[in-house]
């Protein structure tokens, strides 16, 4: 809904949430340029459907759902879950060798290697903190499916973390 008040509210929401949502998108699509597209598209969709928001959740959660759906749509359309190597990756890796830092870097990388759905489930549950039922609604899958993806994601990531002990 393109009303002036909606535009103002979207602007305020953007200021408040865009960094968090960009990181969410980045973890889901594993590509900075694509994550930027996702965030822009998500805010535009939110603006157009502003009046459709029924208050079942907070605006922030609602917007998070839009970001997730935009990210998954992008992955489906591009059929490319790999991405993008940054020249900064090497500089980050070559910095401190503290095990915890190294494990943290490996975790971000490991998350990027998960299949799209498992990645989304892990990010939303274990990083963003959404409940299983809420996540099931966001992803439009059954709660049991969420748990199955979560199990495999955690098992995979835990095995990789173990390699740096």
């Amino acid at each position: 809904m393109s009303t002036p008040s909606a535009s103002t509210e979207i602007a305020a929401l953007f200021e408040q949430e865009h960094r968090r949502l960009y990181l969410l998108a980045l973890r889901l699509v594993a590509n900075p340029a694509a994550a930027e597209d996702v965030v822009q598209e998500a805010f535009l969709r939110a603006w157009r459907s502003w009046s459709d928001f029924r208050g079942a959740s907070s605006r922030s959660t609602w917007l998070c759902g839009i970001v997730v759906r935009c990210a998954l749509n992008m992955l489906r359309s591009e059929r490319n879950e790999r991405s993008f190597v940054s020249s900064e990756t090497h500089s980050i890796e070559s910095s401190t060798r503290r095990p915890q830092h190294e494990a943290r870097i490996d975790l971000e990388r490991a998350i990027a290697t998960l299949p799209a759905r498992a990645r989304a489930v892990f990010v939303l549950r274990d990083i963003e903190g959404h409940a299983v039922n809420e996540e099931a609604q966001l992803l439009d899958i059954a709660p049991g499916t969420v748990k199955a993806h979560l199990f495999h994601a955690r098992q995979r990531l835990a095995s990789l973390i173990d390699h740096h002990d």
């Binding site: 597209d37 598209e41 535009l44 993008f84 835990a158």
Partner: protein, 224 residues
């Protein structure tokens, strides 16, 4: 925060061996990252005697610690708000376009698109049906403004077509090809009888883009 992406491993995630051979292992993934009080008593008792599961729980605990230490925000390389605000300004100001009756909008859109396909009409910004849309006229704008407005048109068209289920063009094939792909998708929707006010707007936006691209106008920023 590694905000600039990662090189994923060369192998995709495939089925991998369980972390241990104990039949209770699948339960560990579900409960190991929750507070001890939420773990079923039977599993707690099992953990007291099973060394394999204790090691597995330690791995999940390490995963939990590392996950909680991840940053919660990141800053994109470019400022995303200008593109969003430009697209909002370029879109219809008042209400949803569906205020026009669906039958009338479909008829009008069909007439416009048919006339366009026949080459008898050049699509102008001020269409009767789209009179509420603010399709930008670029003739009097500077080169920089034209670049921004071109990007806005493309972004708006992508977003509207996305809502109709049309996927984004594949990357790396050039702007003219991407626009042609989207235009083809728009025509296909029209042929399927899915005419709508949005579709008319998209056709107009893409036509504007095509003319700009063919005339060698300054390249619009890629919406990727």
């Amino acid at each position: 925060m590694p905000a600039n992406g990662w090189r994923p491993s060369s192998t995709t995630m495939t089925e991998h061996p369980a972390l241990n051979d104990c039949p209770a292992e699948p339960l560990l993934a579900e409960y190991a990252m929750q507070p001890l009080s939420e773990i079923p008593r039977g599993l707690q008792e099992h953990l007291e005697s099973c060394r394999s599961c204790k090691r597995t729980v330690a791995r999940y605990a390490a995963l939990h610690v590392v996950t909680n230490a991840l940053p919660s925000t990141a800053t994109s390389a470019r400022d995303l708000w200008p593109g969003i605000s430009s697209a909002m300004r370029a879109a219809p100001r008042h209400g949803r376009m569906l205020r026009v009756s669906p039958a009338r909008s479909a008829l009008a859109a069909g007439i416009v698109l048919t006339a366009f396909l026949l080459g008898r009409v050049s699509v102008r910004p001020e269409l009767p049906l789209a009179s509420r849309a603010r399709v930008v006229v670029t003739d009097s704008l500077s080169a920089a403004e034209r670049i921004q407005e071109a990007g806005t048109r493309y972004l708006t068209a992508l977003s509207l077509l996305g809502e109709a289920g049309v996927p984004r063009p594949a990357r790396g094939q050039g702007r003219e090809v991407a626009i042609a792909t989207l235009y083809g998708a728009t025509m296909e929707l029209a042929r399927q009888g899915r005419s709508s006010a949005n579709l008319t707007i998209v056709a107009s936006l893409l036509d504007h883009e095509r003319n700009e691209t063919r005339s060698g106008s300054p390249a619009a920023p890629s919406s990727r």
